[in-house]
Amino acid sequence: MEQTQPLTLTQSASSRWEEFEKEVADHEKALYHFAYRLCGNPEDAQDLLQEGLLKAYRSYNRFKKGTSFDRWVFQIIYRSFVDLYRKKKRRPFVSSLNETSPHFEQEKPPEVPDYSALPEEMALKQELGAIIQKSLLKLPNEFRAAVILCDVQGFSYEEISQILQCSLGTVRSRIHRGRRLLRELLRPYLIGERRGG
């Protein structure tokens, strides 16, 4: 007589999950950083990353071995972000007056503290980080994604064109226009940074 068993992953699913888990562990930090810079707050970033990774796992059998796993997941996360943004846009905006704006949230400190830097420098760096994040959120989504992928993640234009599914010329234009917009928003702070640096 057969006994009923609780829902568990089968052997093939288990090995598939282990493989996926290993791939994600190698790029988890970069993926979360990308999601965080796109959303601007940890809660939305976690939701976005979870959504993206869940989609990636479900379609993991379609992932071509030997190609770049992180680029593939970056692409999925960006698509999820665009979808979520569209859904949010359709919904009416509701916000509590008591709730602090996510843009003003303090940047989380790094896991390994840098003791060589002075506390004042660290505070200034964190403050500038929060201001940059606030300015990033004012950019159109496609410009923001292109600038983050280029300047924060360090991808080449070729790689960005694969992630955003657009031509090299479009990538070049988006990065250039995004940077110019961002520079205008950050002009007073960047001048201070230049003088201070």
């Binding site: 888990e21 979360y32 950083h33 989380k108 600038v147 300047d151 080449s156 234009y157 940077r179 950050l186």
Partner: protein, 173 residues
Amino acid sequence: MNCQKVQSLLSAYLDQELTTEERRIIRQHLFTCRTCSLEYESLSLLKSSLGSLEAPAEPKDLLSKILVAQGDSASAIALSRIAFNPWAFGKRFVMAAACVFLFLGAALWLFPTPKSNPMMTNATPQTLRPTSEQVIMVRHMDKEEDSAPEDLKQEMKPSGPQHPLLMGIPVSR
């Protein structure tokens, strides 16, 4: 190459995404043009500021959450399949259902109930219904009772209870 064209290529120059020839032309222009040189400097500063942004601490239990979400969705999909497709239960369910129907059919055929068999509904009243001979005999007894003397009438009255079906029959006098 004029300033407008150079400035449109400055981002790509900064990212080293231009050809060798384009890079050489822009480098030469930046040496001579103060405006384009300042533009390049500001973009370079922006790029380094973005590059020095601290990575936030990633959530620890992210993958376990995904595994839970995956399990939930898998079980939800399984449940929805069962709800809309009875064949998802498999052959065992079909066999069990067939056995139950077979048993019920056999039981009804072998042991019919009064409701299931219309012939049985008339059976009981027919057995208790008085025959024509019994009716005639009762009428005859009534006539004898009227003509008999009073002392005999007492004897002729039925002592025990009558047949239940005969009690309701009107007797002609």
